[in-house]
Structure formats: structure tokens, C-alpha cells
């Protein structure tokens, strides 16, 4: 009698093939969406980065000369590396204080006190405000002649003449970091608070019984419990801030004298100010490369925490 396993039945093979086809069919919409929304636009950016010359006529871009001229022009321009530095300063200058502020507010909101629920909602409000509105509010707060910030600083005797926050090269970057920080810290609060609430309370009780100080409880219980979420929040928020546009553009447009010209603002100016679409695309590729390096550096820590 022939063994059952020796010869595969035709019915079983065609069933496996049908199942495979069905699986691919179910994946197809997701693949199509990824292609349409991610892969094709990326292909366009790369393709545009090799089209030299000045033109904003997208339909005629393929007629522009093909070459590495845009890469040479952008990567050898000191203004590009200045924008890279500004982007890093803006990103780290925002996310580190925002993280610390978010962590602090999360620790406070994790305790029980009256009106805690109302305060939680209030703390999250800045996150919901559109970036342009945030810029408008802070343009008024930091107005050189009539803003309340200068008024309070003069009243406290900290300054004798008004500071032109947005038009002074030494203060403009701070003046755009502050509103971004204000808008961004609630994300850290939300993420870290959710992580803290998943830490069992009896761990804290046991630590208190053992005589652990508040700092010891934080470093040995709280931080290990939220480290994974904190890392993810830092990476996500860092990428969002790195590509931030509306707050800076509405406030300073990248000025004064390029002191707040991040890579995103520079790409916009190259494309729509100077009509160099190819150079703008190269800046886009550069931003992508930087973001990729950041994600790869964080990958090890994220894998350790989540996978």
C-alpha cells in the first residue's frame, strides 16, 4: 500500500495556492496604499533631485537636464550645512526640554489630588492648537515693542531695553523653540502618564516600606517602567519637530538672516521662492537620510524595549 505522505494530493496543493493568492489579495490594498502614498512620492522626490535648472513647471520637469548638479550645488553650499545645524539645534532644543516638562507634569498628574481630571485635560490643550495659531499667539507675546514678555522682563529689572525676539539673530531661534515646546510637551505628558499608570502601585508601596526615597523610587521603579515608551516618544516627537514647518514659517519665515532656516524652510524657499525644484528635492533627500540614521540609531533601544 503506498504511503500517504509520499505523494502530495493534487487537491491539497491547489488549496495552498488558493490560500496564498487569497492572502496576497487581502494584502493588495495595503500594498497599493503604501505604493501610492509612500513609494511613488519618494520616487518622484529622488527623480526630481536629478533634474537640473530652474523650473516650477512640474509637467515639463522631465525635460530638464539630468545630472548631479543639484547635489553638488546643495551639498557644497555652506548655507545647507548651516540649515542642518539649525535643524538639529531646533530639534534637540525643543524635544529635550519638552520631554523633561512632559515627564514632570506626568509625575504630578499621576498622583491623586482634587481637580486632577480637569487639570489633565487642560494640560493637553496646547497639543490641539494649530501651529499657525501658536505662532500668532507667541508673535504677540514676544512682540518687541508691545509684547507682555518684554514688559514683564523690564518690570522685573532683567532688561533695560526691549528685546526684538523674532528679528534679533541671537534670540530668534529661542523665540521659535518656545512655542514648539509649548505645543509639543503634552504629547510626552500623555504618553508617559499612560506608561506610569501601567506600573503596579504595590511596587511603590513596597519600596516605601523599604525606606526608598522619592528619587530612588523614580530611578528604580518609574523610569524602568516608562523607558520604552519614553524612547518611542522621543524618537517620534524628534522626527515631527525635525520636519516642523508651520510654526517657524508663520513666525520668522526662516529669518532673520537664516538663523531659523531649518532644512524644511530651506526646501520651501528653494522650491517656491527661487524656483529650484531639483535643489529642494535634494534637501528632501538629505532630510530623509538624516531621519533614517536617527531611526537606525534608536532601533537597538526600541527592539530591546518592545521586541
Amino acid at each position: 500500500m503506498a504511503s500517504r505522505s509520499a505523494v502530495p494530493s493534487p487537491g491539497r496543493g491547489s488549496l495552498a495556492r488558493r490560500e496564498r493568492i487569497f492572502a496576497y489579495a487581502l494584502l493588495a490594498p495595503a500594498v497599493a496604499a503604501v505604493f501610492a502614498l509612500i513609494a511613488y512620492p519618494m520616487y518622484l522626490i529622488f527623480s526630481m533631485s536629478f533634474r537640473e535648472g530652474k523650473s516650477l513647471n512640474f509637467l515639463a520637469l522631465h525635460t530638464r537636464p539630468f545630472g548631479l548638479g543639484n547635489y553638488e550645488a546643495v551639498l557644497t553650499d555652506s548655507a545647507t550645512w548651516h540649515s542642518v545645524w539649525v535643524s538639529f539645534a531646533y530639534t534637540f532644543g525643543t524635544i529635550l526640554p519638552a520631554f523633561l516638562l512632559g515627564l514632570g507634569t506626568a509625575v504630578v498628574l499621576n498622583r491623586s489630588f482634587p481637580l486632577r481630571r480637569w487639570l489633565r485635560s487642560l494640560v493637553l490643550l496646547p497639543w490641539a492648537v494649530p501651529g499657525v495659531m501658536v505662532s500668532i499667539v507667541f508673535l504677540w507675546l514676544f512682540d518687541a515693542s508691545f509684547g507682555v514678555t518684554n514688559y514683564f522682563l523690564r518690570s522685573l529689572g532683567l532688561i533695560s531695553t526691549d528685546i526684538s525676539w523674532y528679528t534679533n539673530e541671537s534670540t530668534a531661534l529661542i523665540a521659535v523653540i518656545v512655542p514648539t515646546l509649548w505645543k509639543g510637551y503634552p504629547f510626552f505628558t500623555l504618553t508617559l502618564l499612560a506608561a506610569m499608570q501601567s506600573i503596579p502601585g504595590n511596587l511603590y508601596e513596597a519600596a516605601e516600606v523599604d525606606g526608598a526615597s522619592a528619587w530612588q523610587r523614580f530611578t528604580n521603579i518609574t523610569w524602568p517602567g516608562i523607558r520604552g515608551q519614553a524612547t518611542l516618544a522621543l524618537v517620534l516627537n524628534g522626527l515631527w519637530v525635525f520636519r516642523e514647518f508651520d510654526i517657524i514659517y508663520a513666525a520668522t519665515g526662516g529669518g532673520p538672516s537664516k538663523t531659523t532656516e531649518t532644512l524644511g524652510i530651506r526646501a520651501y524657499n528653494e522650491a517656491f521662492g527661487y524656483f529650484y525644484m531639483g535643489r529642494a528635492a535634494v534637501i528632501g533627500v538629505l532630510m530623509l537620510a538624516i531621519a533614517l540614521v536617527a531611526v537606525l540609531l534608536a532601533r537597538k533601544q526600541l527592539r530591546k524595549e518592545f521586541f
Partner: protein, 415 residues
């Protein structure tokens, strides 16, 4: 038939009639018209009246006007043209139109203009609409810069109305008291395209020029001296303000003196009651009156034939004697048609006589080089960056202008 079935049947009939009826109605044609002037005093009223008259003469056609702030206006229009979504009626600052025309975005209007008297009746400034031998637009206004002052603030500081640039600087210093929120001078002091206009006004006003032949002339000693005067003046201006904000502070009685176009006279009429009687307009206290072309109307190159005819009808309407007269009366600005107002009308409006005098004497402060005009947006952005350094640093003017000239020659070389 039961009641439910009847109601369902009746609803179906009503829905069908509504759908058929909607399709049977001829759809209104909508022409999109964005502008930075829609909410401006004077110009806003002009556009509203013109649009009303146009719609009355063209039943079934609606013009959808929308306000876009001037600071972002050219960038926003650039994005729209680049995305193949231009507005139907294109309103541009004239200094920027060449950049759009050089991209092939604007339609030549020679065929249409041949059917009008524009070439015979408009002033010479209208020649700026010609690029590579073709006319790409219709000029709306050419002007001379005007001087606006608050005579009460000057009187309180015991200063006469200045007649020269040195008297102007003296008056600015006398009026300014920052702690009291009182400023002698108002100017755009943030990254605004009008920073170039402000600096260009001082340079041209002092009889110098930023261009010599077809070359940049930024390091000429006369240019440097003029810019030094500008730097002195702007130290007494509120910081971080756009042109519009500086104008508003003037209306509110916080700024004693500003230079601006003749259109601000219409806004002065709407100033608060407390300040309006003190706000006056005069000739610029400079040896030479700076000025130039202001804005123009154009047609996008890609427009369907039906809309093309309507857009031309709209543009042509602005060129008629009737609407040229209304333009001057409503905006207090000189119309490009010669003798748009009669002698009697001019006599009745001495402010318009002054405005026309300034326009007639004006020396162009805007670049005339085709290479610069084709790249005006880039030129202005680079110039404004150096303008911010002039306003906010202590570096010598000669050094900043030397760097600017080198940068400009690199980005927009002039042969």
C-alpha cells in the same frame, strides 16, 4: 396602496425632480480672484464695486474674491501655478509678474489690447507690461511714494514738518520715546518683501541708485550714505513689524511718520476719530521722489476659452475711462490712464493733485534689469536678509552691502 408605500413613492418622486431640476439649471460660472487688496481701504471698495458691475453685466457669472496677506501673496500664487491650479483672474505686484511670465504661466494679451485704446492712452509706465516683445498684463497703478505724518506728534515735539532727509532724521529722534510707546518712524522691520522697498526708497530718494547700467551698485559711497540714514531712521521704528502693522500703528497715533504708497490715504480716512484729524499726507522729504509700478492684472496661460473671454472682459472693464476715474477717486491713487480725472475733479481733490504730482515726478526704485526681474522673488528674499542685518546688527553698512553684492552676483549674475 398603504400609507408607507405612498410616502416612499412620493419621496422618490420629489428626489428625482430635485436631481433633474438641479441638472437642468445652468450652472453659474465662477471666476476665482485672490488679491491682497480685497480688505484694503479704498482698493477693497473699488474691487467690490467693479465686481458688482461686472456680475450685473454678465448674468450667470460670479466672481469669488478672496483676501491673501501681502507677505505670503507671491509665494502662495507661485505654489498654485506650480500645482497647475492658477486663479482665473491673476492680480500681481508688477515687480513679480516677469518671474511668472518667464515660466510660461501668463497669457500674452496683445490680441486683446489691440481692440482697446490702452496703448494710446496709458502712461509710459505701462511699457513695463512688455516682456520679450509681448504684453503680459494690464497695469493697474504706477505711483510716487508719499509721506504721511501726524502733525500733532510733531507739534508736541516742537518739530516742523520735515522737508529734507536730515530734517526727517532730526524729527524722528525728537518724537521717539520708546518707553512711552511713541515712535518717530514706522517701517517694515521683519522679513517682509517691503524691506527692499523701504531701503530702495531711501537710496533713490537721496539721488543714488542700487543699479548702475546693468550692474549691481550696492557698494557705491552714495548708496552707503543713503542706507546709513535709513539705519538711523529705523532705529526709532517698532521692531518686528510688517508694513501693514506699521501702517496700523500710524493710524493709532503710535508712529509719527511713515512713507507709503498713495493708497494709504484711503485708509487714513478710516483712522480712529482721536487720530484722524492729525494724520496728513505730503511729498516725501527727499531730493528725488521714489516710486514705480505697483500692481497689474493678468490672465493665466491655461484657461478654457469661455473663461478666457470673461477674464478679458473683467480686465478690459478696468481700462475704461469710467473705471479709471473710479479707481482714482476710491483708492486716492493715480490711474495709469492719462487724464483719468477732469481739471474740475482735480481741483475738488487737492490730495489727488498731490498724488499725481508725485507720480509724475517719480524715479523708479525697482530694478529694471530683466535678469533681476525674472528672479525678483529670489532677489527680494536675498536683499531682505541683508536688510535684517542692516536693521538689527552694528556691522558697518559697507561690509553688509559688499557681502550682499557678492551673494547677489552669485545667485543672479548680471553680465
Amino acid at each position: 396602496m398603504n400609507i408607507k408605500r405612498f410616502i416612499a413613492w412620493a419621496l422618490g418622486v420629489v428626489a428625482a425632480v430635485a436631481v433633474i431640476g438641479a441638472h437642468a439649471q445652468p450652472k453659474a460660472i465662477e471666476l476665482e480672484f485672490p488679491s491682497w487688496q480685497i480688505e484694503e481701504a479704498g482698493a477693497g471698495e473699488y474691487w467690490t464695486e467693479l465686481i458688482k458691475a461686472f456680475e450685473a453685466a454678465h448674468p450667470g457669472v460670479k466672481i469669488k474674491k478672496s483676501q491673501v496677506p501681502f507677505r505670503e501673496y507671491v509665494d502662495k500664487l507661485t505654489v498654485r501655478f506650480a500645482g497647475n491650479n492658477p486663479p482665473d483672474i491673476v492680480h500681481l505686484p508688477t515687480r513679480n509678474y516677469l518671474a511668472f511670465a518667464s515660466q510660461g504661466w501668463l497669457a500674452p494679451l496683445d490680441e486683446y489690447l489691440a481692440q482697446t485704446d490702452v496703448k494710446a492712452t496709458y502712461t509710459k509706465l505701462s511699457d513695463e507690461m512688455v516682456y520679450n516683445g509681448k504684453s503680459y498684463g494690464v497695469l493697474m497703478m504706477g505711483y510716487g511714494m508719499m509721506f504721511y505724518y501726524n502733525d500733532k506728534m510733531l507739534a508736541d515735539a516742537k518739530m516742523p514738518v520735515p522737508k529734507t532727509s536730515d530734517e526727517l532724521l532730526k524729527a524722528i529722534a525728537a518724537v521717539t520715546d520708546v518707553n512711552a510707546g511713541r515712535f518717530g518712524y514706522g517701517a517694515p522691520t521683519n522679513e517682509h518683501p517691503n524691506v527692499f522697498v523701504e531701503i530702495g526708497t531711501w537710496v533713490t530718494g537721496e539721488g543714488a541708485s542700487l543699479f548702475k547700467g546693468n550692474q549691481y551698485n550696492f557698494t557705491d559711497p552714495a548708496v552707503i550714505r543713503a542706507i546709513d540714514k535709513f539705519r538711523t531712521a529705523v532705529k526709532s521704528a517698532p521692531k518686528g513689524q510688517s508694513s501693514e502693522q506699521a501702517r496700523q500703528l500710524f493710524m493709532d497715533g503710535k508712529i509719527a511718520m511713515i512713507r507709503d504708497g498713495p493708497w494709504v490715504a484711503a485708509a487714513v480716512k478710516k483712522a480712529p476719530d482721536a487720530t484722524r484729524p492729525n494724520l496728513k499726507m505730503g511729498m516725501m522729504p527727499f531730493a528725488s521722489i521714489p516710486g514705480g509700478t505697483s500692481n497689474s492684472l493678468h490672465m493665466p496661460a491655461k484657461l478654457d476659452p469661455e473663461k478666457k473671454k470673461l477674464v478679458w472682459d473683467f480686465i478690459r472693464m478696468t481700462t475704461t475711462p469710467e473705471w479709471q476715474q473710479k479707481f482714482t477717486l476710491l483708492t486716492s491713487s493715480p490711474a495709469p490712464r492719462k487724464n483719468a480725472l477732469s481739471a474740475a475733479e482735480m481741483q475738488a481733490r487737492p490730495d489727488l493733485a498731490l498724488v499725481n504730482k508725485a507720480a509724475a515726478e517719480a524715479n523708479n526704485l525697482f530694478p529694471e534689469s530683466v535678469a533681476v526681474r525674472e528672479n525678483y522673488n529670489e532677489f527680494a528674499k536675498i536683499f531682505v536678509e541683508s536688510g535684517m542685518k542692516l536693521m538689527n546688527s552694528d556691522r558697518p553698512t559697507a561690509d553688509i552691502m559688499k557681502d550682499l553684492q557678492a551673494e547677489m552676483q552669485k545667485r543672479i549674475p548680471l553680465k
